[in-house]
Amino acid sequence: MISARGLIKRYGDHTAVDGIDITVPKGQAFGFLGPNGAGKSTTMRMIGCVSPPTAGELRILGMDAATQGPAIRARLGVVPQDDTLDTELNLLENLVIYARYFGIKYKVARERARELLDFVQLSDRAESKVEALSGGMRRRLTIARSLINEPDLVMLDEPTTGLDPQARHLVWERLFRLKKRGVTLVLTTHYMDEAEQLCDRLVVMDGGKIAAEGTPRQLIETHVTREVVELRFNTEDHSAYAEKLDGAAERVEVLPDRVLLYTDDGESSVSEVHGRGLSPASVLERRATLEDVFLRLTGRTLVD
C-alpha cells in the first residue's frame, strides 16, 4: 500500500524527515511512534500527497505520489492532527459536503453520512453545529468523515491526543472495528499504550529518522528486557544510585526522578536491591513497554 525509499523533507535548512524507508502491506495497522517534532506529521502529509517530498521515492496504492496526487487522495481517508471540520456547518453537512469533494453523489453521500454518524455514535447530533461538540466528538466526526469515500487506506495523525481517557477508549474501540474489517491503517502517536494496542507493526521515530522497526513484541524483546523495576528514593538526585545499583540487573537506567532496572526476573532484582542495604521509597515491578524501548534507543522519554 505504501512504499517509501529515502524519503526526505526539508524546510529551509531544517530537515524534518531525514531519509526514511517504510513499507506498509495491505490490511496492516502501521504506526509511527515518536515524540513531538519527530517528523510524524510531516511524513503523514507526504503520504497524504499534500506536501511534496524534497527527495526520495514514494509510492502509494501502486501510484507515484509526485505525479498522481489527486488519484491517490481520492482513495485515502485522512484524519489530520488538527481537525479541519467546518465549525459553522452541522455534522451531516460536514460529511455530505466532504463527500462532494470526492464527487460522490448527494444521495449516496447522505446515506453514507447517516451510516457513518451511526458508526461513530453521533447520530443523535446529526443536526447540531460542530461548534457545540467536545474534542472527542470532533475526533470521531473527523474519523467518520475520513471514511466517506470508502478509502483503501486510512491515515490518522495522533487520533487521541488531548482526549480524556473515556473519549480515548471510544476512539480506540472504533479503530479496532475498522481493523477487524481489514482496513489498512497508518497512525502516528506519542502514546506507547496506543501504539501497543492498535499497531501490528510500527517504527520508532526520532529527529526525522527511524530508530527501530518491528511488532510491539519484537521491539520490546530486541531492545529491552521482559520486566522493569522502577525505584524511587527519597532524594533530590538519583544519579548517586547509579554506582550503588551497578550489576543489580541486566541494565540500570537512572532518570532524574527514578531508577529503572531492566531485568528478566523482577523479583530477584528487587531482593538484590534490598540485599545491598538500599531502601527505596517505592518499588514498582512491571512489564517492559514501548516507552522503555524509546528510552533505550534515544536516551529520552516519549512524553515530557
Binding site: 499534500v50 487522495r73 479541519t84 456547518l89 459536503i97 466532504y98 462532494r100 470526492f102
Partner: protein, 255 residues
Amino acid sequence: MRAGTLHAFEHWLLNYKRTWHGTLFSGFLLPVLFIVGLGMAVGGYVNGSSAIGGVDYVAFIAPGLLASTAFQISSGELTWPVFAATRWGSQYKAMQASPLSPGEILNGHLLYGLLRGVSSALFFFIVMAVFGLLQSAWAPLALLAAAATAASVIGATYAVSMSAKHESALSMVHRFAILPLTLFSAVFFPLAQLPSYIQPLAWISPVWHGVELSRAATLGVAPPWPIAAHIGVLAVWAVGGWYAARRSLLKKLKV
C-alpha cells in the same frame, strides 16, 4: 470547467444557504434605495441635463449601479471569506486532503464570488425593468457587462485577500479600493465632471469600463471608447487577476 471546481463551489453555496438573509440588504435593498432615493431626490436638479446625455438621472445611474453592485458583491464575497478560509477556518485544508487540486479549489471559490455578484445584478436588473429603466432593446447586454465587471475583479480581490498578512488589510481594501472605485467610476456622475488629471485613473479601473458598457446597453447609446477597448481592459484585469490569485493560493497552500 472541471467537475472538481463545481464540487469546491458547492461548499460556499452550502455556506451561503446559512447566511443568505443577511445579504438581502447589501445585495438587494441598498441598490433599490439608491434608485428611489438618489434617482428621485437628485433627479429633481439634474434630470435631462446635457452632462448626463439628456436623460433622467435615475436612468443614468441605474445601469451604473447595476455594474457596481456586481462589482461590490463579488469583491465583498472574496475578501473576509477568502482570508478566513486559510486562517481561522480550515475549509481549504480539508479540500487539500481530498482529490481537489489547487486550481479547482481556486476556481470553485471564484465561481461562487462571480455568481453572487451576477445574481445580485440580475435581481437589480429586474428592479430596473419594474421602474421602466430599460430603454433600449440592447438592455439585456447590461447583464453581460455586469458579469464582466464582476469577472474582472474577482481574481485581483482574491489575490489581495489571500496574501494579506493581517486582517486590517481587508478593511483597507474596502476603504481605499472598493469604495473609491465605486465613487470615481462614473456610476453617479459622468467622468467628464472629474478634473482631467484624475480621469486616467478611471481608464484603468475595471469598474468604469463595466459601468460604461452597462449604461450603453440600457440607454442604447455608444460607449465612450470602442466596445472592444472596454472589453479588452476588463479581460486584462480578469486574466491578470486570475494568475495573481493562483500564485497567492499556491504560496499559501505550500507545506
